[in-house]
Subunit: 341 residues, 2 copies
Amino acid sequence: MDYEAFYRGRPVMITGGAGFIGSNLAHRLVQLGANVLLVDSLIPDYGGNLFNIRDIEDRVRMNIADVRQESTMSYLVRHVDVIFNLAGQVSHIDSMRDPYTDLEINCRSQLSILEACRRNNPGIKVVFAGTRQVYGKPEFLPVTEQHLVRPTDVNGINKVAGEYYHLVYNHVFNVRACSLRLTNIYGPRQLVKHNRQGFIGWFIRLAVEGRELQIYGDGSQLRDFVFVDDAADAFLRAGASDACNGEVFNVGGSEPVSHRDLVQLLLEVAGTGSARCVEWPAEKKAIDIGSFYADSAKFRAATGWQPRVGLREGLARTVAYYREHLPHYLEPGDPGAAPAS
Amino acid sequence: MDYEAFYRGRPVMITGGAGFIGSNLAHRLVQLGANVLLVDSLIPDYGGNLFNIRDIEDRVRMNIADVRQESTMSYLVRHVDVIFNLAGQVSHIDSMRDPYTDLEINCRSQLSILEACRRNNPGIKVVFAGTRQVYGKPEFLPVTEQHLVRPTDVNGINKVAGEYYHLVYNHVFNVRACSLRLTNIYGPRQLVKHNRQGFIGWFIRLAVEGRELQIYGDGSQLRDFVFVDDAADAFLRAGASDACNGEVFNVGGSEPVSHRDLVQLLLEVAGTGSARCVEWPAEKKAIDIGSFYADSAKFRAATGWQPRVGLREGLARTVAYYREHLPHYLEPGDPGAAPAS
């Protein structure tokens, strides 16, 4: 069956459903006619934002809950066929300041979800949002799934433990599961209210606001970027494919770009903002990994996925989104923020 | 400096100090003149046993505490130079029945210890007891540290997360730490009161009791075995060597042996017991990994360690120990158990 047709009328759950990737995936699933349940804790500092789902709020069910809460998850998993498991704490910096909270959100919560599936709905399928962070500083490029896992921060460790749980529950308890190790995802609906969740959203905000972007070092380090619609498409394909069960897959961009070139392109597309190279802050340098880009051939072979939105187009769509909606993505105390709804 | 001389008068802590490897290491450290603090929770089902340290109880300090307890660990780490970090839940089977407890003991507790060091004694050195389990089912033999980490059960996942924390705290916070990935350790003072902590201790008990040993399948799968005195020596060398910081090392036996040959040798050495091949129980088969043996060349190159006690001699010493002391290693309700002390 065509992977898009697979979702027509199908009950699915997205954890982290009001977040960046979760809400974009929800829009696509609504278009495909799925029966969508969003679960989000709306913890203030994280990426969940009800504005992200205002267009589709009448066509989804929104359940505010924390995935760490075992009894809630036990109930919610009963009537869905697929879980897109995107809830998590994604700040490297926060994980080094408060490793216990990161442990709770990225490890314990995954056990809650998987135990709920094992005991109440073992026929379910779970697609986990993994991360390139698990590889740490690469030994070779592009990075394949054969690269050693060597995380450089607590968040990377807890994310990989969460991923491994999925694989073990697949192998031992037949709860079908796989993990997509995402590289740098960008696009509309990303958290930009602080700069502790990766640099790309923050850079886009600064450009839109006409401010200065700081490039650490000489900006020569390489990264690959995936537009969020392409990331959502990867989740849809993985959720519909039993060829993915028990496996991990890189989901990365079509070609690497240096920080410097990324910033140049972004400023050109935006027409506002400026850039300057600065020294590495010590705290960030300690957990930096140099250049990174992923080889996604394994996932392409399994599902036919490939990124369709080029960097220039993706940046243009993202800049246009924040030009229109930025006030909804600022802290309530920020002078430019939208009034609370 | 000679690694043994390094410990003269030196304050050291062993977590899991009343357990199998911890107590054997404590005996050696006492001989070397170290100032030894043992920390153990003495949780009934685990390996801590005060009988293990009766010979040295006047020459060590014993502090009963749970390594998950943050304030306790914050206090205890202040005045020691080296932590041998051996506390943990080691049953694969239990971890699949109750993954949350395994998470607490093998992940959260490691964060407690490392946060305590980071905040109160960053000049400390920590040697973590890792495990070959992290490799899962091997892709090649012997297994080197370049083999992918792919645990097959929840315990293996949590143990590797605990190990990764040590490496990150070494790299980011300069809390010097390394991990020894131990294969199958055997010898005096091992838990034998139930069979959920690996088969070798259990087999030795059955042989000593003159009972029947069950070999799963045809017994052709290979393993490597390390006598506990050699494992203790590995910890001493790693604790004294800054060449080990930030690294993981396999610590395995000198040559692989099949289950069948191991049992034959054990029965010959013991002169009691019998053996029979039986079908694999489904629960165990689901998490079995086939043959496994490790390449320890990296650790040998870094520290000069090599195993000195051969399998026949090690088994003979272990059998002699349990012939004399078995009642102290049985459940209180067991007819052969020693009276509670």
